[in-house]
């Protein structure tokens, strides 16, 4: 299941994203050069935005199942593998403590986990107070580590593996120590690695991926793919000559012998209507947020994923690549947004603008180009996507091409997207 979003956003008189020489980034496309904003620039501002709908301000419901990550994703699979339940709880608790607080689990807590009988006691031992976002690579590693710890104590504590084994209280205490203080969890390297795992995981990595190491098995794949945005028309740039006035010298020209311009320079300013495109891999997003294998994503909890997506749609439509804030106030909202949900291979509609649109009436011309391109694509490949359109201006042709009755608002697209993720 994929969600795709396309926006058209106008930025007059700005310098959104620069190259090493200070000029606006550009893109040669269809025989003319466009102004470009790189995907890494867009993502940087979306992930760090700190206003309404900010990703980090999410009020995730306390009941969310992500608190049960350790119980559901580590303990249960180990029990299914045939490891004795009491020791599975002991090792899961010890791992949780390492990952969440960086410390060694308390002996009496581990003993309680070994002796737990009621589901309530088990969840008290293993569930975390806060939402724990660990992806499938983290879960695989933690699961394998836990299994190694259990294997290492099997000889000494075989009583737990026996069908009618009844470990006495000494055995419980010794097993608790053997597990919580196992070298496999306490070695300096491992402690640092588990701390690193905890630091590296989180919302950010779940959305945009994490590629910190050469270890491809530890990599977190991005669930959100962002294309470079570019203008639908030939790039328009102006060299803005400016001077910084030294007011002290200006006020005393006779003494300073100068007219007061302390610094003169020029910077490039560009104007354009940018086409921007984003794909959300819903199954991978759920897997990254809930720590489940990707193929089991439909059975996982979709609450967090759907609220992330709802916020993200707002961010895409309203958050600007913030460069030169003080001198250009580059704050614009999208004037056109298309949302699509489906399983067909996602594709950008960028080729609608391969022939640069004329510079007069840019928004309406761009929407007309989009409409024509969408009709062409649908004619060639058919369309199975569920579609929503929010737009202002002359929207009829675009609505017809997309096969929607009418336009909706951006909040409605956000809500619809969240609904798609919830129901998926």
């Amino acid at each position: 299941m994929f969600l795709q979003f396309h926006t058209l956003t106008s930025y007059p008189g700005t310098l959104l994203n620069r190259d090493d020489a200070g000029f606006a980034k550009r893109l040669p496309f269809g025989g003319s050069t466009r102004i470009r904003v790189s995907s890494q620039c867009l993502k940087y501002h979306w992930r760090n935005f700190d206003g309404e709908n900010a990703l980090y301000r999410m009020d995730v419901p306390k009941s969310l199942r992500s608190r049960e990550t350790f119980r559901r994703r580590i303990a249960q699979p180990l029990i299914d593998d045939g490891y004795p339940e009491p020791l599975v709880y002991a090792v899961t608790l010890s791992l949780k403590e390492r990952v969440v607080s960086g410390g060694t689990a308390n002996k009496s807590d581990v003993k309680k986990a070994i002796q737990a009988e009621e589901p309530k006691e088990i969840s008290e031992a293993l569930d975390t107070n806060q939402v724990t976002i660990l992806g499938a690579p983290e879960m695989n590693y933690l699961h394998d580590l836990a299994a190694d710890v259990l294997d290492s104590v099997e000889d000494e504590f075989s009583v737990f593996w026996e069908d009618n084994g009844e470990p006495d209280s000494d055995a419980v205490g010794d097993a608790a120590d053997a597990i919580r203080k196992s070298d496999l969890l306490k070695a300096k390297d491992v402690k640092k690695n588990l701390k690193g795992l905890s630091l590296a995981s989180g919302l950010d990595a779940a959305l945009f991926g994490r590629m910190a190491t050469s270890d491809v098995l530890a990599r977190g794949d991005a669930a959100i793919h962002v294309a470079h945005a570019f203008t639908t028309h030939k790039g328009e740039a102006e060299s803005d000559y400016f001077s910084a006035v030294d007011e002290l010298r200006r006020d005393e020209p006779e003494e300073s012998g100068e007219m007061g311009a302390g610094h003169i320079n020029s910077q490039e300013l560009t104007s354009g209507l940018f086409y921007s495109y984003v794909v959300i891999d819903v199954s991978l997003l759920v897997s990254n947020l809930e720590g489940c294998p990707r193929e089991e994503w439909t059975e996982a909890d979709h609450t967090l994923a759907s609220s992330v997506v709802e916020r993200f749609v707002h961010l895409m439509a309203t958050v600007s690549p913030g460069a030169k804030l003080g001198s250009t106030a580059p704050y614009s909202y999208a004037q056109c947004m298309i949302g699509e949900a489906g399983t067909a291979q996602p594709r950008t509609l960028a080729n609608a603008f391969q022939t640069a649109v004329p510079r007069n009436d840019v928004l309406n011309s761009s929407m007309a180009s989009l409409a024509e391109h969408i009709e062409g694509m649908n004619g060639m490949y058919g369309s199975t996507n569920d579609v929503r359109l929010a737009a202002m201006g002359e929207t009829d042709a675009l609505a017809d091409a997309l096969g929607v009755e009418d336009t909706v608002s951006v909040p409605e697209i956000a809500e619809w997207s969240a609904g798609v993720v919830r129901g998926a």
């Binding site: 040669p28 496309f29 580590l145 491992v190 793919h225 067909a344 996602p346 950008t348 080729n351 391969q354």
Partner: protein
């Protein structure tokens, strides 16, 4: 032979070559490893399933045609290593130890990276599989491309395709003949000739060695493949 066509049409794409220091260069045509990874992605193969990827890579025979040359673009990117999310204390690995930077001037501060892209290019790839009856078959690949397990991209994640990658099937004498078939050119075409790259015998004087086979288990490129550049024209149907 049975042939499957892939179309690469995107505002930006990347056929990555060896990255030296901070300079990410591209090559004129996609590597075998890239085609393998792309198809693996469509099939939903996981990073850990290196045997499936290795096996697929060994079976792929492909030839590449450039339909529109595009322009090279050098993107300037900066990475601020002082940001908390770039801190290498979080670089965990499945080996159980952190993989940290070794120190030196490149391990802190703002790091500059240059990444090349091809802008506005269009390529067609003709592809067939050795041991055609084994899984995945060309039919499986075609299905996976039409409804892929993950979003597909051309070389790097921001390089999102502007057309479906699946561009049709045919039977042809060989891959060169397939790439001359007038039915499998883009709608807007010029007269050609079109540059093509294909595997060649190492004794062929035009063949050049190319290290584009990936050892998927050890995550490095190894070995050689001999590739020659040639050209095709649009065949006039008899």
């Amino acid at each position: 032979m049975d042939v499957l066509f892939l179309r690469f049409d995107a505002p930006m794409m990347s056929f990555g070559g060896p990255i030296i220091d901070n300079r990410g260069v591209i090559q004129a045509y996609p590597a075998l490893s890239m085609i393998t990874g792309l198809l693996g992605n469509a099939l939903g193969v996981d990073h850990s399933e290196h045997e499936r990827l290795q096996d697929l890579q060994e079976r792929i025979r492909h030839a590449v045609r450039r339909d529109r040359e595009g322009k090279r673009l050098q993107d300037y990117q900066t990475v601020d290593f002082s940001k908390p999310y770039m801190d290498d204390a979080r670089a965990w690995t499945t080996d159980g130890r952190l993989e940290q930077r070794k120190g030196g001037s490149a391990s802190s501060g703002t790091h500059i990276r240059e990444r090349d892209y091809l802008a506005g290019a269009c390529y067609t790839i003709a592809l067939t599989l050795d041991r055609p009856s084994e899984s995945p078959t060309l039919d499986d690949l075609a299905d996976a491309l039409r409804a892929p397990a993950r979003p597909l991209f051309i070389g790097r994640k921001p390089c999102l395709p502007a057309e479906p990658l699946y561009a049709g099937r045919t039977t042809a004498e060989d891959l060169t003949a397939a790439l001359s078939d007038p039915e499998f050119f883009p709608n807007e075409r010029d007269d050609g000739p079109y540059a093509i790259w294909m595997e060649a015998d190492r004794d062929d004087p035009q063949a050049r060695p190319y290290t584009d086979r990936r050892d998927w288990q050890n995550q490095v490129h190894t070995g050689q493949r001999w590739v020659k550049e040639d050209h095709v024209e649009i065949a006039t149907s008899a």
